[in-house]
Amino acid sequence: MHRHEKIWLTLSTAMIVGFFLIAGYQTFALEMGPPSHSETIDPQKVDEIEPFDEPGVYEVGENKYEVVMTLQIFSFTPNEIEIPAGSEVTFTMTSKDVTHGFQIAGTNVNAMVMPGYISKITQTFNEPGEYLVLCNEYCGAGHQMMSTTITVK
């Protein structure tokens, strides 16, 4: 092997190792990993099973909210959510039909919502304003219409 090749490969390897050490540290020490909830649910019976029999916004603590949400072709329930600024919101979601995506544009909230699985993702909303929520996994002819908003006041 040439000397320059050795230097190049050493630097490349060091860079790659650096990348995954940082990724690992953030994931496991800072708990910044991507959403990976593992609870399941019968996708044919979502309406009958708690908590999805009553979707809605629930206050679960001081400045803490849980949004229990179903996604279905081509809408979110509940929609047009309002929450006070500074609150920490956990979204608990499942799909009643096909695979959807849940993304809040301009934030890092991005999770797949699949039939049979419960997805959970938490976000603190500090900045007041209107946030666009959209489905980002193709779910059929009206996929582009599947959106709603979260208003932070």
Binding site: A23, P34, T99, G140, S147
Partner: protein, 560 residues
Amino acid sequence: MGIAKLEDAKSSQSLPITKPESRLYMSFIHVAFISLLIGGLMGLLQTLVRSGKFELPWGIDYYQILTVHGVILGLVLTTYFIIGFHFALMGKTVGISEKQRKVTWLAFWVMVVGTIMTATTILLGEASVLYTFYAPLRAHPAFYIGLALVIIGSWVAGFVNWRQLYVWKKQNPGVKSPLAAFMVTINTLLWFIASLGVAAAVLIQFIPWSLGYAETINVLVSRTLFWYFGHPLVYFWLLPAYMAWYLVIPKIIGGKIFSDSLARMSFVLFLFFSIPVGFHHQLTEPGVDPTWKFIQVVLTFMVVIPSLMTAFSLFATFEITGRKKGYGGLFGWFKHLPWKDVRFLAPFIGMLAFIPGGAGGIINASHQMNAVVHNTIWVTGHFHLTVATTVILTFFGITYWLVPHLTGRKLTPQLNKLGIVQAIIWTVGMTIMSGAMHIVGLFGAPRRSSYSEYGGTEQASEWIGYQLAQAVGGTILFIGILLMIYIFVKLTFFAPKGEEEFPIAEEEEDAEPTPAFFENWKLWIAITIALILFAYTIPFVDIIQNSPPGSKPFDFPIGR
């Protein structure tokens, strides 16, 4: 005595390609270029629709044309071109028998029948499920059966390649297999092992379910099998481009292969690390164990190393060649590269595009950073740089010599010039389109979405300017496609008769001999399988054991 070394096989590097062989190889390439035209038109329409200034006529659905675009460019164009190129390389270096040729025709026709079946269902609006066909959206059964036939046909073609090398090795015992044949064998192995996953999903899950024999489908299993295939798929596209970079480009610039062993090593590493990594497409999915997601992310990073090895050896070739020709100075060798030769220029632009393309890929794979870009149009911008620029421009670069070589014509100076214009148009169009996609993706604009104002929110209104830019870029790109089709037709039917060189570089005279262990295919396959079993067994068993009740099919969302 160190490691056993292999003898060189200079004599068999350049076999003549006969007429019937040419016809076979050209058939694959014809399908690829027809696909380019159809798929390119769909791409143009997509950007126009998304600009908000244009609506599709006759009630055609946006997702129908997007399915055409993804299937025909992502799956059909690439697979056919690659198989044609693989066979040309094998024919040139190890030869093909008449029987092997006949079996390859069989493979070709199986693939064509499959392609037509799938295409028909899409055109009838019975399969607007996009090229990833995620369950539980259900397409017409013929869509899945057609896909299965394409895969099976491609396997037969790959088996013929293996047989070609096997026969050659029998005739040349102890001799090192030609580098080209080695690379083709790696890529067909990669394809075979990877497509077993999607074939299993299609044959065991989708076909019975779409026919109504199975009531429900396991959605997460189907997605996991798809992405077990989906990531190596992109390396199946990329490796032929690397073949051209390692084997062809050195010859075109008047140089030699930098290092035979390094080239083989990088291909072996691609085989190892491109398959056990599919979870990086499922990072935001529920039901997949987070630890195993991370392990696959680490494995994903490993695949960066052979790419960086390739980059090193390419620039080393450029420099060594330039210096040998006597171009001094720090960058003299760079200035004197054959910029006016499109066989060099087009792939070179492809290499440059892989710098931002590869960097973007690292971002996508970076676990938590993935949440910023997952399913945004950033991702579309990313793979239009990698596959639709790096790979496609290299394929165009191959076309400029391969097609005239096969048709017994010549790349004229005039066509060479048109090719240069083509490469520049593509670069400009793609910079605009892909650039706009990357930026607006970071703001959260989604991919796979028809035009929408998203309820008139302020955020979405800021995206529209970028969508207009994509339409401008898309229009320029489509002009580039028309020009490429013109060049292809010229090279196939009208260019003056002559003999165009099939450029394959040789090794340096005093090159280090290649170690014999590179021919140890059993070892490479065993390591590949071990890595796959390591990365997938535990999480896959976990997925199956913790499966929810399956999903019934959904037809109405896609208008069936």
